[in-house]
Every structure is written in structure tokens, then in C-alpha cells.
């Protein structure tokens, strides 16, 4: 019970609140060889943006390395000596940004922020004083996710994992359990048809995962303010298709494995890990090595995540993802066919 409802909800909460890449309050140290009005003004500009938090002022170049090695400082800003005077007399002064690039993404984003702040300060200054530079204004528009929230990226993934987990993993384990305990044989010799037995085993999980799906959707809409731009009916229909596919996959796993532990390991390694890693849930597929990109093509979750994002965030209709839908549909038929074949062979023995 805890796993069926607690885990998914905990996951959404964790992903929604804690797992973000947004950068705020990065620790910064400043090495100011000049200490004049201009450098103080730039420093002030930097600190009044909510991106940076001053850790301390450094006094010599040697301290930079130590500051990084201590751990928290992510960026050191170095002003050359006589900064203001050089700026005025020679029209050029030099500021150096040194970044802790162990995390390359944080480093590039901080670099861009810093440059942006300094440049905007300089252009303001120049407008005040003299000559007219040519400037290009940039109008930024963040499509589908104007506040750049991470939840938008993660919720479709969590829904997918959850449907996979509850439907495929739980069915495969529960059927394998009946096999292990020997109760499956008892059911099979009863006058109930095998197909009915399977359907009877599968339907409760289907209902459960559907309830879970709705709980997550409600949570993402009301707690995280995530939109459902497209048609809700279409969303539910596609989810149902994906659900049937996962169930078929679960049955297939259970026909292949003999014990609970086997079924668990199989679904863990064959389903859960690839679903998290290779489906584009957290890590964009386009940046992976080619081999992994090819492998990701056979992950049903990859296609379903595309569908979910299209409906929920882009709000487009089925014309835009009929291909993905078709792929899932064929996977579904393939798994059902294969498990029927496996199942009948077992019965003949």
C-alpha cells in the first residue's frame, strides 16, 4: 500500500520542490585590487540580483584556489588594480570571472549571469556619459513554461514511471507469486479460462494505477500549478493505452520468470532503470552517445513522455503525435501476442 500510493506522491513532491536546476544564491567571493567607486558599484549590482550571495572578500590571488577548495564558493570576481582610473583614462579596464567548473552547467549559467549584469551596468553608464553604442535588445520568450519551473519537466516523467511501476512491476510480481506459491496451478485447473484469470489479476492494478494517475494530475495542477493545455479526454485515453501496454509487459515478464525475486530483478533492471535513464525523463536524449540514443528508441516510456508533454504543456492535438501513439499501440500488440504465445506453450507442457 505504501509503495502503491506513498512512493509516487513522495516522488512528485520531491521532484516538484527539491529537484531543480534553478540557480539562486550562488556563493561568490570578490577579489578587488582596486576598491574604487566603479568596482563597488558593480559589486553592489551583482549582490542585489538574487543570483549571488557574497561569501567574503579575498585579498590576494593565492586565496582563490583555497576558496574553491573549501567548497562553497562557486565564482570569484577579480577586478584589476586602478580599475576606475583605467576605465576613464584608457577606456578599457579588465575584470576576470573565475568559475568553479566542476559542475559545468552551473558554471556556464553563472558566467552568463555575471556578464549580463556587468554589461548592462556598463551600457547604462555609457548612455549617461558619452558616445552612442549600437545595441541589440533581446526579447526573450520562454515557451510553454514562462517561469522556467522544473516541475514541468518532471511531472510527465513521474507519471510514466508510476504507471510502469504499478502496472508492469506489480502485476509481474503478483503473478510470479502465485506461481511460486503454486496457487496458479490451482487456478488453472479450475474451470475458469486462463484468459479470464489473467484479466481478473490485471484489472485491479489497472484501476489502482488509474487512481494514482488522477491523484498525481490533481497534485501537479493544484500544488504545482501545472497546466493541462490540451484535451483531458485525450490525455486519459493515451494513458489508458500506455497502461494496457505496461500490463502486457508485466504479464510477459511474469511468464518468463519463475520466482518473485526474478520478476523483481527483471522489472528493476529491464524497466525501472532504463525508464529513468533513457527515456528523456531527467536527461535529454539528444545529448547522449548514439548507441544509447538507439537503445532509447525501444523504450515505450520515451514515446509516452513525448505524448504527455505535447498534451499537457504544448496543448496540441493528436496530429502532432500520431506516430508516437502508433508505436505504443504496436508495442502493446507485440507484448500481448508474445505473452499469449509463451503462456500457451507453458500450458501444453
Amino acid at each position: 500500500m505504501l509503495i502503491l500510493f506513498g512512493l509516487p506522491l513522495a516522488q512528485v513532491l520531491l521532484f516538484g520542490f527539491a529537484i531543480t536546476n534553478d540557480i539562486t544564491n550562488a556563493h561568490i567571493a570578490i577579489l578587488d585590487h582596486s576598491r574604487d567607486d566603479v568596482t563597488r558599484e558593480i559589486t553592489h549590482k551583482m549582490l542585489s540580483s538574487h543570483y549571488f550571495l557574497l561569501t567574503n572578500y579575498l585579498h590576494s590571488d593565492d586565496e582563490i584556489q583555497a576558496a574553491f577548495q573549501k567548497g562553497d564558493v562557486k565564482e570569484v570576481l577579480v577586478f584589476e588594480s586602478d580599475f576606475a582610473r583605467k576605465l576613464e583614462k584608457e577606456g578599457a579596464a579588465h575584470v576576470q570571472i573565475i568559475l568553479d567548473a566542476t559542475n559545468p552547467n552551473t558554471a556556464s549559467i553563472l558566467d552568463a549571469y555575471t556578464k549580463g549584469i556587468i554589461n548592462s551596468y556598463v551600457s547604462q553608464k555609457m548612455k549617461q556619459t558619452a558616445s552612442i553604442p549600437i545595441s541589440i535588445g533581446i526579447q526573450n520568450k520562454m515557451l510553454y513554461n514562462p517561469q522556467v519551473k522544473s516541475v514541468y519537466m518532471f511531472v510527465p516523467g513521474v507519471i510514466t514511471i508510476l504507471l510502469m511501476l504499478v502496472s508492469a512491476m506489480m502485476t509481474s510480481i503478483s503473478i510470479a507469486r502465485e506461481k511460486e506459491l503454486g496457487t496458479m496451478e490451482a487456478l488453472l485447473v479450475s474451470p475458469i479460462k486462463p484468459a479470464i484469470i489473467i484479466i481478473g489479476k490485471v484489472v485491479p492494478y489497472m484501476v489502482l494505477s488509474f487512481v494514482d494517475l488522477i491523484a498525481i494530475l490533481l497534485m501537479s495542477v493544484f500544488v504545482f500549478g501545472m497546466p493541462i493545455q490540451g484535451s483531458l479526454a485525450l490525455l486519459l485515453a493515451e494513458s489508458l493505452l500506455f497502461l494496457i501496454m505496461s500490463l502486457a509487459l508485466g504479464i510477459l515478464i511474469s511468464t518468463v520468470s519463475k520466482t518473485q525475486q526474478q520478476a523483481l530483478l527483471l522489472s528493476m533492471f529491464a524497466l525501472l532503470l532504463p525508464t529513468i535513464l533513457l527515456s528523456g525523463f531527467i536527461f535529454p536524449i539528444a545529448n547522449m552517445p548514439l548507441i544509447l540514443q538507439y537503445i532509447s528508441n525501444i523504450m515505450p516510456s520515451r514515446w509516452f513522455i513525448i505524448i504527455l508533454k505535447s498534451i499537457m504543456l504544448k496543448g496540441v492535438g493528436i496530429i502532432y503525435f500520431w506516430k508516437e501513439t502508433l508505436i505504443i499501440f504496436f508495442m502493446c500488440i507485440f507484448f500481448i501476442g508474445l505473452s499469449i504465445k509463451k503462456f500457451s506453450i507453458r500450458l501444453e507442457e
Partner: protein, 370 residues
């Protein structure tokens, strides 16, 4: 001491006899390191962009060339209107749109100010911020070039020259960042999995009763259980370090012995945690779910995938009890930045205290009783 030696012998025989356990102990971690390191990347190097150029001027073409020439960008088409470009994003074949209005060149050269529009698919928020940062820096470069071109002599670019240097990872390689973290993940999973399954397995099979009637003391029992797993996890860590060196070309900048020393204390902590779970549960399935639950939260919050500083304050405070977070931080500091003991000492003390506590609880909880 003799007694401990016997228990050790028993544990090792038991581990190496189980043929299904061996691949999990030695092959899975290697695969994990290889696949995870390559797959877990937020690096962006292939931004598919479309340009809607209403201006068709020399300047606009130069700007477009600048984008196309960047290693980060791939030009996937120049549709004639905004609608078509928007379709490309909807269909998922483009990530970013650049719209250059008619009169761009004229505005730029006569009015000294022109505007362009940058539209980014922001469903993946972190990727979008990066794409945005790249685009803005390209446009700013372009801006400076024109200034130098049009006002030669008078203007030597922006008066404040900014240079950036990226320390410890100048090529901004994401794998360099991930490998130390994944190493921690891998030894943690192995140590946790082995130790949490262990006592409970003896309970399930019933062999714990036999151990209970022997004259082995509590401490000998726990030590005997702990040492084999500790050795296995250390071997795994060494294999991982070798892979990092020879497959990924990551040289440990700091002191390798310091790293191994911290790792040995950290492993005692994880093993203690696992044994505690094992003494508290009745069946293997219970033990498995409990350790998975904790591992998942520890790992997601550890800063392995997303930086801890980005998390809300309550999550950061929660991380005080997260052993994985400490060791990932230490490992990255030693391996990539070459931090010494003085830099990591506080983190190290916390791990040590934590280890003693966990081991103490596990020993306390384990009772010789039926």
C-alpha cells in the same frame, strides 16, 4: 580474534557460493558507471534552431551565420513565417526560434537600436536557461563586432573587458562532474544492498538460531558481518577509480589515500545503516523496500544530479542527515579540486560520528534471542 576469523570465513564462502550474487557485486556496478556516466548528462551541444528572417539584409545574415557557426547550434531550417517556426517546436523538431523583424539592419545602423526575438522551448527549464545564455552571449558578441566595425578607432568594444576562466574542468565536460558522484552511488548501493539483506536472510532461512546458540559475542558477530562487505565495497571502489582513470581519463587531483580513508569510514556508516535495517525487519522483502525507500531519497537529494544549492532551504536542512550528500561532496572536492584534509574536515567528522552512531544502534538492536 579467532572467532571473528571463522565468521569471516563463513561469510566469504557464503558470498562466493551464491552465483547470482557475484555479477550483482562486480558487474552491475561497472555497467552502472559506464552507462550512467554517458547517459546522465545535462550538457547541451546540439541546439536545433530555426530562424525567421524578415529582413534578409547583410547584418541579419551575418547574425545567422554566427549562430550556425557556433558548436552549440544546428540550423534546422529557415521557415518564411513565425507560424511555421512555431509548428517546428510543436512537432518537437526544433528547440529555439530566432525572429529577425523587417528593418533590423536599418534600425541598427540608423537608430542605433534594434530588437530581435528569441523564443525558447522551456519545458525543460534548465536546458532552456542554458540555451538562452548561449544565444544571448552570441548576440552580444555580434553586437560588439558591429560596434568595432562601424566605429573603428573610436570604439574598441565594450570598455570593460570581461574574461572568464573555468577552473578544474576547462572543457566543461559533464562526465568529469558525474563520475565521482556515480562512484559514490555505486558503492553505497552495493554496501546497503548486501548488508541490509544479510541478517534478515539468516532470519528467513532460520540459520540465525544456530548462530545465536554459539558462544559468539554481539560485537564479534557484527564485526564478522561487516568486514567482508567492507572489503567487497572497497574493491568495487578501486575498480571504479581505475575505470575513471583509464576509461574516462579522470585523474584524481587530490590525495588518493585521503579519498580511500574517507571512503573506508563512510562505508562503515552505510554498512551500519544496512545492518540496522536488517535487524529491524522480518523478511527480505521488507528489508529491500525499506532500503530502497531510503536510498532513493538519499540519492535524489544528494546533489548527484541537481545541485544542492538550488534546493529550497528545508531540503538543504534535511540533507544534514543525508550521508550520501556528504560523501559526494567530499569525493568531488578531492577528485576534481584537490582539496586537502583541512578543507573537508568538518564533513569528515560528521561522517565519523554518524558511523559510530549507526554501528552502535545496529549492535544494540541485535539481540541474541529466539
Amino acid at each position: 580474534m579467532r572467532t571473528i576469523a571463522y565468521i569471516l570465513q563463513k561469510e566469504f564462502i557464503q558470498i562466493f557460493r551464491d552465483k547470482s550474487l557475484l555479477p550483482i557485486i562486480f558487474i552491475v556496478p561497472v555497467l552502472q558507471l559506464l552507462v550512467l556516466s554517458y547517459a546522465a548528462t545535462f550538457e547541451i551541444n546540439n541546439i536545433r534552431f530555426v530562424v525567421v528572417d524578415h529582413d534578409h539584409s547583410t547584418e541579419s545574415r551575418q547574425l545567422i551565420d554566427k549562430f550556425a557557426g557556433s558548436v552549440f547550434y544546428t540550423d534546422v531550417g529557415q521557415p518564411s513565417n513565425y507560424k511555421a517556426a512555431n509548428q517546428a517546436i510543436k512537432r518537437g523538431v526544433a528547440d529555439q526560434i530566432l525572429v529577425i523583424e523587417a528593418g533590423f539592419e536599418k534600425h541598427l545602423l540608423i537608430n542605433h537600436h534594434a530588437t530581435i526575438q528569441l523564443i525558447t522551448n522551456a519545458i525543460n527549464g534548465s536546458a532552456a536557461s542554458l540555451m538562452n545564455a548561449y544565444a544571448i552571449s552570441i548576440i552580444n558578441d555580434f553586437n560588439n563586432e558591429i560596434i568595432i566595425q562601424k566605429y573603428p578607432g573610436q570604439f574598441k568594444g565594450m570598455p570593460v573587458r570581461i574574461t572568464s576562466s573555468f577552473w578544474y574542468n576547462p572543457e566543461l565536460n559533464y562526465i568529469t562532474y558525474m563520475v565521482p558522484g556515480i562512484l559514490v552511488l555505486l558503492v553505497t548501493i552495493i554496501a546497503m544492498f548486501l548488508s541490509s539483506m544479510n541478517i534478515v536472510k539468516e532470519k528467513e532461512i532460520g540459520t540465525i538460531e544456530q548462530l545465536n546458540v554459539t558462544p559468539i559475542s554481539k560485537f564479534e558477530f557484527i564485526a564478522g558481518k561487516l568486514i567482508p562487505f567492507w572489503i567487497i565495497a572497497m574493491v568495487d571502489l578501486l575498480i571504479g577509480l581505475l575505470l575513471a582513470r583509464f576509461v574516462f581519463g579522470i585523474v584524481v587531483v587530490g590525495n588518493t589515500f585521503l579519498l580511500l580513508f574517507v571512503a573506508s569510514v563512510y562505508l562503515i556508516l552505510v554498512l551500519g545503516f544496512g545492518l540496522l535495517v536488517s535487524t529491524l525487519t522480518q523478511t527480505m522483502q521488507q528489508a529491500m523496500f525499506i532500503s530502497w525507500f531510503f536510498l532513493m531519497i538519499f540519492i535524489l537529494m544528494s546533489g548527484l544530479f541537481t545541485p544542492i544549492e538550488s534546493m529550497p532551504v528545508w531540503a538543504q536542512q534535511l540533507n544534514v542527515i543525508n550521508p550520501v550528500a556528504y560523501f559526494i561532496k567530499i569525493n568531488r572536492m578531492i577528485m576534481l579540486k584537490g582539496s586537502g584534509f583541512a578543507d573537508i574536515q568538518w564533513n569528515f567528522y560528521i561522517i565519523s560520528i554518524y558511523a559510530v552512531l549507526m554501528l552502535g544502534f545496529a549492535t544494540l538492536r541485535y539481540r541474541k534471542r529466539a
